[in-house]
């Protein structure tokens, strides 16, 4: 998927969506998802025109639960090929286990989860309605544990957008895991979070600039 990177041409011609105040439901969806089935049901009822506003509730093992087989109107919309991005994230043993998406109006997470009762984890998956934005449609699926911790968040739909043509996205960066001197001659600059780097990044950059100037 492409996160529709900033594109000046699109910006110049895009619809002005902000002239429409986002509905309250759109703003509160994340809280609703955390709130559980009752909240999701409210959301679904609030979006009667959204065919994808179905609730898929399932449980899965591990701390990361991606349900690859949830269906929406019979078509597979969850990408099962998503790579496991980290070496420390537990595998998802439930990958490939079929779960039929249930309609929000008639199904609670409890009943849906029961269909996968063998799972040891208590992460349940909730799917939000499809939202439209100038940046494209977006639909989110989140797995939430009984304690309210987010196990995983997955974008089920996201828009495709133009990339900046001067960027070669295939050129994967090379990560050098070794610590090094901040004054290393090979470093062009330093990226850091503001709170650790107020002053530091700026002063270091100034040093680097001066040293190389």
């Amino acid at each position: 998927m492409t996160p529709n990177p900033y594109d000046p041409k699109r910006a110049a011609t895009g619809r002005n969506r902000s002239q429409r105040t986002p509905s309250l439901a759109r703003r509160v969806f994340p809280m609703v998802a955390l709130g559980g089935a009752a909240g999701v049901l409210v959301m679904a009822l609030d979006h009667p025109g959204s065919g994808a506003a179905s609730l898929d509730a399932s449980s899965a093992g591990g701390t990361v639960a991606i349900d690859p087989s949830a269906t929406d109107n019979g078509s597979l919309i969850v990408d099962p090929g998503i790579s496991t991005a980290t070496s420390t994230v537990p595998a998802t043993p439930q990958r490939g286990t079929a779960t039929t998406a249930a309609t929000a109006a008639t199904t609670t997470p409890e009943t849906a989860a029961t269909s996968k009762a063998a799972n040891s984890s208590n992460c349940r998956t909730y799917r939000g309605p499809v939202q439209e934005n100038r940046w494209g449609p977006v639909q989110v699926q989140a797995s939430v544990s009984s304690s309210g911790k987010i196990c995983s968040v997955k974008v089920l739909q996201s828009p495709t957008g133009g990339k900046s043509d001067r960027i070669n996205a295939n050129a994967v960066p090379v990560l050098n895991k070794q610590a090094m001197s901040a004054q290393s001659a090979n470093i062009s600059g330093v990226s850091g979070a503001t709170y650790t780097t107020i002053g530091y990044i700026d002063s270091l950059q100034a040093i680097l600039d001066a040293a190389k100037g």
Binding site: M1, P3, P5, Y6, A12, N16, R17, S18, Q19, P22, R27, P30, M31, V64, D79, I82, S83, A85, T86, V89, G128, R134, W135, V138, A142, G148, K149, I150, C151, S152, V153, S164, R166, I167, A169, A171, P173, V174, Q178, A179, M180, A182, S184, I187, S188, G189, V190, S191, G192, A193, T194, Y195, T196, T197, Y200, I201, L204, Q205, A206, G213
Partner: protein, 258 residues
């Protein structure tokens, strides 16, 4: 890598205070000094213009006027509309991990988590418009690069050690694109307090690289709030990779980064 027509020359560097931090611009093209200086001027002018538009520290900025209720969202500039739309998109795509209303629905908007990277990316486009190909722009540690620092080389971006200020804990060699880092200060999600704050303490900082600085910056904030699940979340977006630093100083990186 795309073919580059411009050859490399002696770098021209300039730094200036803007947006409450330092913008540092390096141009490595073999180009007339006058052209390079004018291009850098354009970048800085645009950063100033965008700061005046978005700063919550300025009473007359559009964001401040929206928050005071004297400017309607529908009457905002194209730039503000674009940023708020993008923030809304990401709020939904991240299930609320990214949030520009830290005090709740009725509270003020603060799109700072998106603006710095977005503004740096937008302003740096002036360099390309002037025909420059090999350049580096950093606005407070949010970095976008084009081309290469020298023939056959990649830009090497250090990642600040969030635990031991002054040290570089790792580095990323990039051909072009963006590197942005977020930490505690960028955390703005009231929503996630409901999660015992556990996820937000998983990492000391998160660095995201990718094609667009606007999104790399916003994704870094998002992954920081999401915690470990965010590493996988961000990998869904083409060309975006994350390097997280845990409080004990160990690294957790997207699989593609090895």
């Amino acid at each position: 890598m795309q073919p580059r027509a411009n050859s490399h020359g002696s770098p021209v560097r300039r730094a200036r205070h803007v947006m409450g931090t330092t913008a540092s611009i390096h141009v490595h093209d073999a180009a007339p000094q006058e052209l390079v200086e004018r291009a850098i001027d354009e970048v800085l002018v645009e950063l100033d213009r965008l700061e005046a538009m978005f700063s919550t520290y300025r009473e007359d900025s559009e964001i401040s006027r929206v928050n005071r209720g004297v400017l309607h969202l529908g009457d905002c500039s194209r730039e503000v509309t674009e940023v708020l739309d993008a923030c809304t998109w990401l709020e939904q795509a991240s299930n609320g991990a990214f949030d520009i209303r830290p005090q709740g629905l009725e509270g003020p908007i603060d799109p700072a988590g998106f603006v710095k990277g977005w503004a740096a990316e937008r302003a740096s486009a002036a360099l390309a418009r002037c025909g420059l190909e090999h350049w580096y722009v950093s606005v407070g540690g949010d970095i976008i690069v084009s081309g290469s620092p020298a023939s056959g080389e990649r830009w090497r971006i250090g990642i600040a050690n969030p635990i031991r200020p002054g040290e570089i804990i790792a580095s990323l060699d990039v051909e072009g694109g963006a590197v942005a880092t977020s930490g505690t200060a960028e955390r703005g999600a009231h929503l996630w307090d409901a999660r015992s704050g556990a996820a937000a303490e998983e990492f000391a900082s998160v660095t995201v690289s990718g094609p667009s600085l606007a999104w790399a910056d916003a994704f870094a904030t998002t992954v920081f709030v999401m915690g470990e699940a965010g590493i996988e979340w961000v990998s869904q977006f083409d060309g975006y990779h994350a390097v997280a630093i845990r409080p004990d100083g160990t690294l957790l990186a997207s699989a593609a980064l090895g």
